[in-house]
């Protein structure tokens, strides 16, 4: 049996632009793009050349830091471009996709009869292993290092996030198979559900896992927050995390013998006219599932992911490797006369300095304006209100800025990921980019760990 957790600190940012729970069919992706920037500190080794024909499941590249795990094509087609930037750093691999996807077959047989080694091997070769990520660092899990548990957050509390119950509808078979495969990897699987957001029996009846129940606002859906409350990560420990839709991808591999990276994503944000769920795939081009005439006119920002942690992409960009939603917001590039003095009926604030705090039901069409200028740390106690961990967020950030690694470890850096600081960044009066600070801090520690492993060998 699992445990119950009540998350009190946090903030649900009430944005206009949630997707209706309607699944519409999208055109097949005409282009697939895979980018090393979607992974933590990846040193890519490219395995294909321009002009190569690939199938869904053909390895495109791997990370020299984690060489057993292949990153594979999610669609079949022809390698159209291998783009490199300054210093020949790989930016992305683009595939011109076939209309009809051809899958590389993986011979599996009955999963129950497979050994753990065989399961790991198939997962690494087929590319699905890359959907298992590890904490600390949030990088792709190292298959050779045993974790203490696997955590799955069955709900997403980020702004306008997709509804997992809805997305998993009718996919019980793959969900179950995915969970069985994960059980082969580790006996301790912690499935975390939300008392109001997860009603679907697909999730709540999952067998062979501990089901923990959470209540409360964002970031209660962040798997890092959940781990912190269930079984916090100490120095030297590793846990693995998998997102619900990636469990399905793993499940499809073991039921159908193919790398089928389809995903149902939510099209969200106030600048989208008809907001629906669409079935597309990892790396798909935006224009295949979001047409121009479905976007409000004006200067818009396209985000792969949510408004707090997502990546800015262009209107003809691609869905990120781990993303399950697209958010389109108005750019906030208009100066505002005496904006710091105005009552601000269009502003949403966790402070109560805007009259809108007295309107708890109002939803907001927020734009991307920073709403002020960057300052030194001045206001205190702000981050703590939206940071539901027993960690001092400002002190940890300062330890990262000053590069004091002992202090970072003591203050719990291994328990956090950049996304856990997204709300701190949102509420910050001084507009400090704390996600970037945390990401860089973790990356430094990750690279140091890799170095020390190498020197041991």
């Amino acid at each position: 049996m699992g445990k119950q957790f009540k998350i009190k600190k946090g903030l649900d940012i009430r944005l206009i632009g949630e997707a209706d729970k309607v699944l519409v069919s999208a055109n097949a992706a005409s282009e697939i793009s895979i980018s090393p920037a979607d992974y933590v500190a990846m040193k890519p080794k490219v395995l294909v050349n321009v002009g190569d024909k690939v199938k869904a499941g053909t390895p495109l590249m791997y990370d020299k830091n984690n060489p057993l795990v292949m990153i594979c094509a999610s669609a079949s087609g022809e390698v159209a471009d291998i783009k490199r930037g300054a210093k020949r750093v790989l930016e992305n691999i683009t595939i011109k996709a076939d209309n009809e996807i051809q899958y590389l077959p993986f011979l599996i047989g009955n999963i129950e009869s497979l050994s753990r080694e065989k399961v790991v091997e198939i997962m690494c070769q087929s590319g699905v292993w890359s959907f298992i990520r590890q904490r600390p660092y949030n990088c792709v899990a190292n298959p050779e290092k045993a974790p203490k548990a696997i955590f799955i957050s069955a709900f997403d509390t980020a702004p306008l996030a997709p509804d997992t119950d809805f997305v998993l509808q009718g996919q019980e078979k793959y969900w179950e198979a995915g969970i069985v495969a994960l059980q082969k990897l580790h006996s301790n699987i912690q499935l975390n559900i939300h008392s109001e957001k997860n009603k679907s029996s697909v999730i709540t009846n999952t067998k062979g896992v501990s089901i923990n129940t959470f209540t409360g606002p964002h970031p209660s859906g962040n798997v890092g927050v959940q781990i912190h409350h269930i079984d916090p990560i100490n120095k030297g420990e590793t846990v693995w995390t998998v997102a619900p839709q990636d469990v399905l991808i793993i499940g499809r591999l073991f039921t159908e013998g193919k790398y089928d990276a389809h995903r149902i994503i939510a099209i969200t944000g106030s600048q989208v006219k008809k907001r629906k769920y669409v079935r597309t795939m990892v790396g798909a081009n935006l224009s295949s599932f979001l047409s121009n005439d479905n976007i409000e006119s004006g200067t818009n920002r396209f985000i792969s992911g949510n408004a707090l942690t997502g990546t800015t992409i262009s209107a003809n960009g691609h869905l990120g490797y781990y993303d399950t939603q697209i958010t389109v917001l108005p750019e906030g590039n208009e100066p505002e006369l005496f904006g710091w003095l105005a009552p601000g009926f269009n502003k949403f604030s966790n402070s109560h300095t805007f009259l809108t705090w007295a309107m708890p039901a109002k939803k907001f069409r927020l734009n991307t304006n920073q709403n002020g200028e960057r300052r030194a740390f001045v206001v205190t106690g702000e981050y703590e209100k939206v940071f539901p961990m027993e960690i001092y967020p400002v002190q940890l950030l300062k330890a990262i800025i000053t590069n004091d690694i002992d202090l970072q470890e003591n203050l719990g850096i291994y328990e956090v990921d950049a996304e856990d600081f997204a709300l701190c960044e949102y509420v910050c009066t001084s507009k400090i980019n704390s996600q970037e600070i945390v990401r860089k801090g973790l990356e430094t520690l990750y690279l140091e760990e890799l170095e020390s492993l190498k020197s041991h060998h």
């Binding site: 944005l15 702004p159 100490n234 120095k235 920002r301 408004a307 707090l308 997502g310 958010t327 917001l329 750019e331 906030g332 590039n333 208009e334 100066p335 505002e336 006369l337 005496f338 904006g339 710091w340 003095l341 601000g344 502003k347 949403f348 604030s349 966790n350 402070s351 109560h352 300095t353 805007f354 734009n367 991307t368 304006n369 920073q370 709403n371 002020g372 200028e373 300052r375 030194a376 001045v378 206001v379 205190t380 106690g381 027993e390 960690i391 001092y392 400002v394 002190q395 003591n410 203050l411 719990g412 960044e425 949102y426 910050c428 001084s430 507009k431 980019n433 704390s434 996600q435 970037e436």
Partner: protein, 396 residues
Amino acid sequence: MNPLKKLLEKVEPSFREGGKLHKFWPVYDGFATFLFVPGHPTQKGAHIRDGIDLKRTMVTVILAALPALLFGIYNVGYQHFQAIGQLASASTGALFVYGLIKVLPLIVVSYVVGLGIEFAFCIIKKHQINEGFLVTGILIPMVVPPDMPLWMVAVATAFAVLIGKEVFGGTGMNVLNPALTARAFLFFAYPAFISGDKVWVSLGGEKAVDGFTGATALSQFITQGSQITNSVGQPMGFMEGFIGLIPGSIGETSTLAILIGAVILILTGVGSWRIMLSVFAGGYIMASLLSLLAPSFPDNPYLAVPPHLHLVFGGFAFGAVFMATDPVSAAQTPLGKIIYGFLIGVLCLMIRVLNPAYPEGMMLAILFMNAVAPLIDYYVVQGNIKRRLKRVTVKA
């Protein structure tokens, strides 16, 4: 297009790199961002951001200080006309105008000197202009007596901005509260103008009525205990102190007006209720303990002053609400704030009651705790670290 925006865009090029006035870019930038929240979209991290910024935070503090300031202006006039025996014949407007004549120059001097130095520093250091002084500039005139010579205020403000803040790196980096640094400077450099019985009521060159005494409640506590009177000999108690028509520094006399400010600060989330509450708690508890000693030391009547009087007279309430809560110089952790506030209350009472040289202890208590705040946070954070390390050993 807005004509203001047009004007800004027209003059902007001369402040840019290579422009004639490039040196003064921080000044241009300061004014431009004062008029308009800039149209800067987010570049990294969270794509959307909270509506609040430091300007709005500071404006909220000023708003919260306004009731106390307005009351203070009125009270300067009230004390004046009461002292010269014309209170009955003077109109409310006349009281207010007299106060304004006294207080407005102090505000102007504080802002002109403080902002002037900030601007100069930003030009030399090529920094953006920070809004920290907006609050300091209003607090300095509120913690001085009405007849404080303007040049002294100017010198003290310059000292506070330079030594109290800029040498540490500007807003957000200072160790001590800048407004209290200014007051401490005045207190030690020109004690005759900011302590004693002569400075708290502005006579404006006119003759006081017979029996007039300019002594504040706190200085009367030393000799008379709680048997105190106002400047014309009428007895004073808790209500008089709470309302605040009494001699004192301009903004500190009315606990009522200060509490209105406290409500604004707490409701908006800009001021820490933890600090305010714990300062009052610390003061009350310490005063209660000290009053237990009163029977054993009959030669110190201050000991016998009941705790609730301590909270409404002198700078206690003002310090608790507007000075102790400065987030930069206060403790930063939630538990640290409670310890910090409580000790301010305790120290203030110790200084007031046990040291006859200083009838008021709030300023020194807060400045001392400003200096100690990082140490408090250090131990609070060490507690968190110990719990984390213990977690590992328990498992092992």
